[in-house]
Symmetry: C2
Subunit: 202 residues, 2 copies
């Protein structure tokens, strides 16, 4: 009896293909990744890939959607469940989360969105609704809670949660362009958090 040349694994294929696509897109970007290479990485023929994804673009969207949402939802759950003071939460779990972003799949997605987003408005809409606005709202909720508890005082930062994310964005871009050279992204993020806390503390 000879080994079968392939196995039928209808259930697992979509995820395997999407994972392979993620890796390939991360390395080469969307436009210069060949569909055939994705198939090869997934250990599958090109034809099969087209059985599960109608076009390359649909594959792209599937990939981009399933990476970040879980992560963001986890963070939000954390925010809403914690018993810590707002300051402790920001210094602890939130800080750690933010510092992880530049080395995580999230960073890849951000780069992909910057490159390809403008040609996929529906995808951007999806992201804005399910990731960006949720994330910003969560940050705002922490601050608000701090104010209610008397930890923080009201300030201009209240409706600019973006300030917490700016150094993260900077780090993501820097890393994607220049690698790890000459910028300590952890320190950048930490320092910004210190600045912000110093400013809003009561």
């Amino acid at each position: 009896m000879s080994k079968p040349r392939y196995q039928r694994r209808k259930e697992d294929r979509p995820r395997e293909i999407a994972d392979a696509a993620f890796d390939a897109f991360a390395e080469k970007g969307y436009a210069s990744t060949r569909v055939e290479e994705v198939a090869t990485r997934a250990g599958v023929s090109k034809g099969l890939l087209y059985l599960y994804f109608k076009t390359k673009e649909e594959l792209f969207k599937a990939v981009v959607k399933n990476v970040v949402v879980r992560r963001v939802d986890a963070l939000i759950a954390l925010v809403d469940k914690t018993e810590q003071s707002s300051e402790a939460f920001i210094r602890g779990p939130a800080s750690r989360f933010l510092k992880d972003v530049p080395d995580s799949p999230v960073a890849v997605i951000i780069r992909l969105l910057i490159s390809e987003g403008p040609r996929h408005p529906d995808l951007l809409e999806y992201y804005y609704r399910n990731v960006v606005s949720k994330g910003l709202a969560a940050v705002q909720r922490i601050i608000q809670r701090g104010i209610e508890r008397g930890e923080f005082r009201p300030s201009a930062v209240d409706d600019l949660p973006h300030l917490f994310l700016a150094p993260v964005m900077m780090s993501v871009v820097w890393r994607s362009l220049f690698g790890k050279r000459s910028l300590d992204t952890d320190k950048l993020i930490d320092t910004q958090i210190e600045l912000l806390l110093a400013h809003i503390k009561a």
Copy 2:
């Protein structure tokens, strides 16, 4: 006498083509812009384009190089010539410059670099040397001068000039993804500058 079908304008062609390419890349990104479209926009045949630029990639590099350098050099000259106090300079000319970035050609170049940079390491090297490091050094010089004059006190911000640029980066990315919706980039940048000044003022 009929109009000539074209004029020979050897001197002007390269700039005209580069300008057309800039516009096209800004709209569609590098990968999905066709060389022929660049030629058409420049009012020129594809063949002529290839007379002045050996490949599409070379065209890309030419475009990307000639946009930002002048601008940055202008800013640096400003920094080194000003008689203002560091604080006044930061609140005035520097702030204005930074707030202009998200709507300027510089933003386009940043987007192009994020998308295509990883596949053009020499271009990134060029940018790091001629734009990024110079810009960061200029910011650092302003702070340093403030310290020497007793306006500012030494702090963690001294060797993180990136903090001044983080909200700009954030704004560039935000704008390129979501347009002008729901983020006042001027305010973001202003607020960050206020935070930083409050922190380093003596």
